[in-house]
């Protein structure tokens, strides 16, 4: 699945990384707890989250998460967008709630971090 597929499926708006929509997304992770993202996500995941502070971008950076989608229409603040842009990390916003976002992506074939096998 590409990031563009994610955008279509979630009817999402792109706030950073418009040129990176063809990147491949291998798995997904839906999480509001950054501690868990740090502990359990794998590299090359898409992170879906309701948190919008810059630490979300930092967490993604450290764990090699390749893109972030904010759920339920949450808008990231300027610092968050700036940091994401400086790291080349695409940011999306979907109006869908977390559960439905995850559900749609999973139904379309995107696997979770614990299922993904190289």
């Amino acid at each position: 699945m590409t990031l563009n597929d994610v955008k279509e499926i979630l009817e999402a708006e792109v706030v950073a990384g418009k040129d990176d929509l063809m990147m491949e997304i291998k798995m997904g992770c839906g999480c509001d707890l950054m501690s868990d993202v740090l502990a359990f996500t794998k590299a090359e995941s898409l992170l879906l989250t309701g948190l919008t502070n810059p630490q979300v971008v930092r967490t993604a950076e450290m764990t090699d998460v390749v893109a972030i989608c904010f759920t339920r229409g949450k808008k990231p603040d300027e610092d968050t967008v700036r940091l994401a842009k400086s790291r080349g990390l695409p940011l999306l916003i979907t109006q869908l709630p977390m559960f439905e976002s995850c559900g749609r992506l999973y139904k379309s074939g995107l696997v979770g971090c614990s299922e993904y096998e190289r």
Binding site: M34, S35, L38, A43, Q55, V56, R58, T59, E61
Partner: protein, 318 residues
């Protein structure tokens, strides 16, 4: 060493050493020297030298007359004088009169050679033509200059344009041992992750395997978050070798009352504001343990906490 380790070593040597060597030819003395030189006059006394060395925290200084260098005097000369009770002797009597100097337009490599050859700590820099003292060069200046050119500073600037270089202190020697040090202020969550970010980039640039880089980044980031959220401030340092990475996180208190409890997943003392940021779930220390091959945590209430971790480069993903 297995194949992977060898690969890393080769990468490090092949890429970085050559670049460092190249830079020694590219950079000129004037690019890296300290221009704000502290000097002393030949008519001053050794007593005055003692005060100068102490107050400026230096170990030696050029002796100057009319902006021209006439000698050099170091802490060793001072010690000799003190031993012989000659504190009132003039600098002129006790200084070394034949001074190794270097011109400001010479390549850096000439300074490296001279410092090694003469076994000295500093080289006064002379402006070609006017023969005046325009700067001084120490090994520290050379290392700083090289690193600056290697754009490690540049990464800092990217993160924090207004504090360029003030928090960051990297040194690099010929054996490719990279040391990394970063001060972490307390409570400033907006900056948490800077040290981890720089460490991650450095490791990536040095050619470490992405999984090793990721593990080190997570350890540094979790440590940083802990220092920012729970301590009075502290420091993250890392020692990078081709076959292992050591990360040390230390803070100046308040310390952890029950260390065993802190290691248990889910144990947390985090206040609400920390939880709102997505942290404070009691996973920090357990996650550091998971990413490290070895972790030791020492803490004393009222003193501080030190977390030492080691990643063996040939140990794979987790």
């Amino acid at each position: 060493m297995n194949d992977d380790t060898n690969k890393v070593t080769q990468l490090v040597e092949g890429r970085e050493i050559t670049r460092v060597h190249e830079l020694q030819y590219e950079l000129k003395i004037a690019d890296v020297m300290t221009t704000d030189v502290i000097t002393i006059s030949a008519t001053d006394s050794m007593k005055q030298l003692r005060e100068l060395l102490r107050s400026k925290r230096i170990s030696g200084t050029p002796v100057v007359k009319n902006r021209k260098i006439v000698g050099i005097v170091s802490i060793e000369d001072l010690i000799k004088c003190l031993a012989n009770r000659e504190e009132n002797a003039s600098i002129g009597e006790k200084m070394t009169k034949t001074v190794a100097t270097i011109y400001d337009d010479e390549p850096l490599v000439n300074a490296v050679v001279k410092l090694n050859e003469y076994g000295i700590g500093r080289l006064p820099v002379i402006e070609r033509g006017r023969s005046e003292l325009v700067g001084i060069l120490t090994k520290e200046d050379i290392i700083k200059g090289l690193l600056k050119k290697l754009e490690i500073d540049y990464q800092i600037r990217e993160v924090r344009p207004d504090q360029e270089g003030t928090l960051f202190n990297n040194t690099l020697d010929a054996k490719m041992r990279v040391q990394f040090k970063y001060d972490i202020p307390s409570r400033d969550i907006s900056r948490a992750g800077e040290s981890a970010s720089v460490l991650k980039k450095t490791l990536k640039r040095l050619g470490f395997h992405p999984q090793i880089v990721r593990r080190a980044a997570i350890i540094a980031y979790e440590s940083e978050i802990n220092i920012v959220l729970y301590s009075h401030g502290g420091q993250i340092s890392a020692q990078i070798q081709p076959n292992y990475i050591k990360i040390k996180a230390s803070d100046t208190g308040p310390g952890i009352a029950d260390v065993e409890q802190a290691k248990k997943p889910g144990f947390s003392t985090a206040p609400e504001w920390v939880r709102e940021l997505g942290f404070g779930a009691g996973m920090g220390i357990p996650n550091i343990m998971k990413c490290a091959d070895k972790m030791t945590l020492k803490s004393e209430v009222g003193i501080g906490t030190v977390v030492d971790t080691i990643i063996n480069v040939d140990s794979g993903p987790n």
